[in-house]
Symmetry: C2
Subunit: 332 residues, 2 copies
């Protein structure tokens, strides 16, 4: 393993992206996700994603010079057309309007359309909680997941993420796929020839299976049975048809076997607790702190605890990156 | 079993409530939940709830003559103070403003404060989808559910419900507790002396258990492990501190052992798909229909299918109510 400072991770990521023709502002925005991923030891969103960015580019499935356009769509909606670029820059361009609308109305939505998506939602959630707002975000992906009681892929891994701002502390944040497990984990089991636990997916005929290969040929399942399946459908609807963008099935069709990152939209909601609470703001933010105390006080952890611990380490000591991966990235 | 027409169920429920001093408009609103519950064979929200209404009233925990007050809180927020009455009338009084705000801004929130709550959220969700809007609702309850990795009750059964309007068809609606199971089911197992499945709850020392009694003494668990737990926390925050109302722990404290219905708030979001989609409305509503077709086409069911089938039966033939319960209600 090689040890890199976060500034070195940033430089590496931007360099690769710019070399492949991403504009400076696209490269900076996309690299930010990877730096955050490495920093918080979420390597699934780290620099290995550069390989996917490059292959998505080579497949003609992302616009490296996209200039997102911000539309004031409605008093409560800012719409950002990502113009076929990665989602990150579009998200960043919509933030100011999202905040202004949330503070004015109490709540507001940012719709990102026509984006290629691999961003970690928690990175975006934190950008909103830093502004003192409560945040909720979700998006479809590629259709790999069957509905409860079914056998054919309909949903994406459809993540949902939520954040609550805390004064002088890291925000309360969770970011979870509604699939039982990440597709990458099933792929790892297949490569290692190991069985997977029951509940991760079904065979092409819809039977519960422990075979990773059968699941990859069949369909993944959601977490939490019919309840997780209902949530996956909600995310599909909210961040697909409602915002005028593709469903996971349509995204996979658009992919046409190129194994690129999904192409669809994203819905982000922001709530201004000051606008909701007025003079009672301090009182009820304290009541939220009591809730967190009641969770941590009994030895349970808040959802992002592991990431924040990793972040502390990384900010002090930098991050470790696999030598082979690093060579591969530097050779790009 | 006795067979009653829905008009008879309505008359019975309103009669009992008025006899106990609920005002006409309170009685009509509260009875509507029970009629819908019986109609859709969701007897957990049916007329047996009259017993709970009466005991909650006798405990002094609900205001039978409450006149909800509607506040135009912000351009995107209508706030209804239920004034200590049941939630239903407050919800109904806020609907017109919710619709107007959602259509103007694209999305809006209804906050119901200071309500005593036993309403089925799907009843409210359907009232919103009938107006052509997409709906999302959630609320805390009494603290009976431990966070993932913990042993002490912090969350309520914290339901979340969602609805999507469909032209000429019943809406897509789900309404689910984030607890693994309803508290009533655990109570039924305890009475019958039957073990419960692992995963429903933990003993007072935090150990997984199949003993219903140990769970009632200890804590229930959420569905879906740490993911369900994260959702329960989100609901607690959104429909508690964010809207300036009680958490499930505070509601249980307020109850002071009276075993009344919970006292807290509710958050309802409405999204106007016409405002989001403009001229593309028809196209993307069709894309949502494709999603539903892809689910049903493979033999999986949409979340509310069972309720809609029951509804058809009930509208034609009326509903069956247990004789003993009916006698008990008529004797009230």
């Amino acid at each position: 393993m090689a040890r890199l400072a976060l500034t070195e991770v940033k430089a590496l990521a931007e360099q690769v992206l710019e070399k492949y023709g991403f504009t400076k502002e696209q490269a900076v925005a996309v690299a930010r996700t990877m730096v955050c991923g490495e920093r918080d030891e979420c390597t699934s969103h780290g620099v290995y994603r550069l390989l996917v960015c490059v292959s998505t580019l080579k497949a003609g499935k992302v616009n490296p010079a996209a200039v997102p356009v911000v539309h004031d769509h409605a008093p409560g909606i800012v719409r950002v057309d990502a113009k076929g670029g990665f989602s990150q820059l579009a998200f960043e361009k919509g933030l100011v309007a999202l905040k202004q609308k949330a503070c004015t109305n109490g709540l507001a939505a940012m719709v990102v359309n026509h984006c290629v998506h691999f961003s970690a939602l928690w990175v975006e959630i934190e950008a909103i909680t830093e502004m003192g707002l409560v945040a909720l975000a979700c998006n479809p992906s590629h259709a790999w997941v069957a509905p409860a009681g079914g056998k054919g892929p309909v949903f994406g891994t459809n993540p949902i993420a939520f954040g609550w701002p805390r004064t002088g502390q890291d925000p309360f944040v969770f970011d979870m796929a509604t699939s039982a497990i990440a597709r990458g984990d099933i792929e790892l089991h297949r490569r290692a020839g190991n069985p997977v636990p029951l509940g991760w997916g079904v065979s092409p005929s819809g039977k519960p299976t422990t075979s990773a290969q059968e699941i990859l040929d069949g369909a993944m399942l959601t977490f939490g049975g019919h309840k997780g399946s209902a949530l996956a459908a909600m995310i599909e609807l909210l961040a697909g048809p409602l915002i005028g963008d593709l469903t996971s099935a349509e995204s996979l069709e658009h992919d046409a076997g190129s194994q690129s990152s999904p192409y669809h939209g994203e819905l982000i909601l922001a709530f201004d607790p000051r606008r909701f609470l007025g003079e009672h703001y301090e009182h009820y933010m304290k009541s939220a702190e009591n809730l967190f105390d009641n969770i941590e006080g009994q030895g349970a952890r808040l959802p992002s605890a592991r990431r924040y611990e990793a972040r502390k380490r990384s900010l002090q000591h930098g991050v470790e990156i696999n030598d082979v991966l690093l060579d591969e990235l530097r050779a790009l």
